[in-house]
Amino acid sequence: MGTVKSHFYEVAGLQFELRCDPELDTDMLLPSFTGFRKRNADSEISVAVVTLTEGEIREDGEMGILRSDISLVWGDNFRFYERENTFATQIKHHVREREWLMVSTRDFKESVIYGNASDPRTGELLSWLLMVVFGQVGLQYQRILIHASVIAHREKEGVAFLGKSGTGKSTHSRLWLQHVPETELLNDDNPAIRIEDNGRVFIYGTPWSGKTPCYKNKKVELKAFVRLEQAPYNKFTKQENIHSLIAVLPSCTAIRWNKVLFQAMTDTLSRIVDNVMVGKLECLPDAEAAYLSSAAVFGNQSTFFE
């Protein structure tokens, strides 16, 4: 490869670097990242470096041990392999030129993507692969990428709604926006959470927000996690001790095949759930559900509701 240009981004206070062909228009390819772009960055503080390589002969031979082929985004085309010193993330395609491969060191601090920028999916693929990298690297800096829809209240406090796909996380956020004053959507799919040394927990908007274009480079203090379950009634139950951890753990991103990363995740999460309220909301998709969860999180304030 000839010359490369470095692009710097900062998400949840962590700087990472994307190196690619100087001709590549990254702002056009990665529109959700423009608000996270960092100019005049110091390369030395990047926690991760991702290099996009085109037209090079990729590695041949054994891919490694197949660890996963489950992906909601890529369906049957996703493969994740573990090798002696690396992990390989593959997005298959029946046309060989459209196959993408990312080889990462075990801590994900360095990755090389073998791809083809003429592929119309380049932006989508790059964004997703950067999310994979950020999700794993962040664990080493007390950040966890979490599958949640999150609202910010009075630009100060956040509430993260968790649940399996199709449970109604986004719907519940919408209900807050409609019925609880002074709320805005912070992120609809993949916010990042962080615990600081003083025990304060923050939730950050990221360039990844699922189908909703909501890419806010903002943070608020995290007030609560609420795990949603569909029910023919509305009921909020506070989750304590081990139940608080079990309610949040399935929504967190960490590969299970690197024990160091996985332990870092459970370590951070154990501390986070000790400092943040966790609740379970069995609910209908109605206004009363939003009133109930907002009252449970913020208390019944007489001037609170419209």
Partner: protein, 90 residues
């Protein structure tokens, strides 16, 4: 020699002692183990050692006011539970 798994980390969450055991298969079958205070104390004191009924019973007798027969039966029960939960190194 029967030893405790070294890859599991004991943590306190609220009032509970827990260990998260990441499943290694294609399907995520991660488990969360809960230990009571006694089991957690034993876990920390048995790290790296050969876990025998005698050793566990001795620890129980030293640390708690318990009769040797009761300590022995408790030790057997604990080892069986640890075994069933897959907490010993293979």
């Amino acid at each position: 020699m029967r030893t405790l798994r070294q890859d599991l980390v004991l943590r306190k969450v609220g009032d509970d002692y827990i260990m998260v055991d990441p499943g290694q298969g294609m399907v995520d079958l991660s488990k969360v183990h809960t230990l009571n205070e006694t089991a957690a104390w034993l876990w920390e004191n048995l790290a790296g050692k050969d876990v025998t009924v005698e050793r566990v019973a001795d620890l129980l007798c030293e640390h708690y006011e318990v009769m040797p027969e009761k300590a022995t039966s408790d030790a057997i029960a604990l080892i069986q539970e640890f075994e069933a939960a897959g907490l010993f190194a293979t």
